[in-house]
Symmetry: C2
Subunit: 220 residues, 2 copies
DNA sequence: GTCTATACCGTGATAGAC
DNA sequence: GTCTATCACGGTATAGAC
């Protein structure tokens, strides 16, 4: 279809092809030969640039992880600064957490959209989550949790973490773009409509946090 | 380790072994030989009983899908009957949706726990979601959505569907048992603690539904 | 240094003989 | 039901071209 492979270096083409295929089929569902073929390069070239298959997977994942993580940090800090000494609202904190993904998606670069699905794959995989999430993303999560603690000073720490877990799940399924919501609504809602997904997710999870983390009488 | 393979037929052993391996490594991450070896049967026997690899995967998925779906239907109808002509509360509807998973998990049969992770894998996979969800689970979802519509008569249908999408995501990540919450909390919260996960999920998502689906002034 | 052609050797799914 | 042979395909190393 598109023919402007000329503008990218071969090693970028490999990363992009791998990103797209890994996102859709997972690590084991893709062969080095498929990647090379989609990137229109020789089979051995991916090996030459990135080492073995697993290292290529790491390279694909980390390339945009760094960017996303840096943006996340910046947005969260700016949001804190902007709130000044008044407390940040829950909505502001959650929005700061989601905004970098929205920005990335709006860049219109299809690679980012593929990366979203890859991130969903890693988030939900028992195997890869452990390998890839700690190095980059987990650090930003700690900061996010800290911000939530300030906004919900009476909450139990476990409750905040469970709520974060639900956010993370809702987000992961959104990133995965499985097409299920399209099917269930006969096309009325679209998996690719990140804008609506994020706009509704913010009030949804903010209300959830408030309910679960409100001061309680008792819990055994 | 365990040696009581005698009590199960060979074909059950194959299904159980496949379930466990597919749940952890996905469809492509598992070979027929690994399955046979774990089930302690000959390589060709899985083929003999279930046909090719993809058909075995379908068999594994559908075995418990039928059970879960039937329970879900029963629980939802009983909950509706019990509410009588008074409307069901949101919490009751959500609880009815989640209860079958809780029951399954509490059966202590490890197969169910593996199946949960497999379900999470299928839910979040762009490829398998489309193939496997429509036949069994999607029908129950329609009933669930209908119940939600009755409880939220003023809501826009799209909003209900997006909220269901968030529930589905939170649920999927819970079922996946990735161990991430354990890591982030230093072991304070546990991925395997379904009881807490469900108990907090109900108020969390109920509040989210109420917030997103409350009557609004405007939306373009 | 970047890249290609090719060869190696293990492993996989599966069919057919037993 | 089981054992085994087949044959394609996978990851990767190597040799050398540009």
């Amino acid at each position: 279809m598109a023919k402007e492979k000329e503008s990218e270096s071969k090693s970028e083409r490999i990363l992009n092809a791998a990103e797209e295929l890994f996102a859709r089929h997972g690590y084991d569902g893709v062969t080095m030969r498929q990647i090379a073929s989609r990137a229109e390069v020789d089979v051995a070239l991916a090996n030459y640039h990135f080492g073995k298959k697993e290292e290529l997977f790491h390279a694909v994942f980390n390339r945009r992880a760094e960017i996303l993580s840096a943006t996340r940090r910046k947005v969260l800090m700016e949001s804190q600064k902007q709130a000044g000494k008044g407390k940040q609202s829950l909505e502001q904190i959650i929005e700061a957490f989601l905004l970098p993904l929205k920005i990335a998606q709006e860049s219109q670069e299809p690679g980012w959209r593929n990366y979203m699905a890859l991130l969903a794959y890693v988030l939900t995989s028992p195997v890869w989550n452990e390998v890839l999430m700690p190095t980059v993303f987990d650090k930003r999560v700690e900061e996010f949790i800290d911000a939530l603690k300030s906004a919900l000073p009476d909450a139990r720490e476990e409750d905040i973490h469970w709520c974060y877990h639900y956010v993370s799940g809702a987000l992961a399924l959104t990133l995965a773009q499985t097409g299920r919501i399209d099917r269930l609504t006969g096309g009325q809602c679209k998996s690719t409509d990140f804008d609506t997904a994020y706009n509704l997710m913010i009030p949804f999870v903010a209300a959830g946090f408030r309910e679960v983390c409100k001061p309680k009488k008792k819990r055994k």
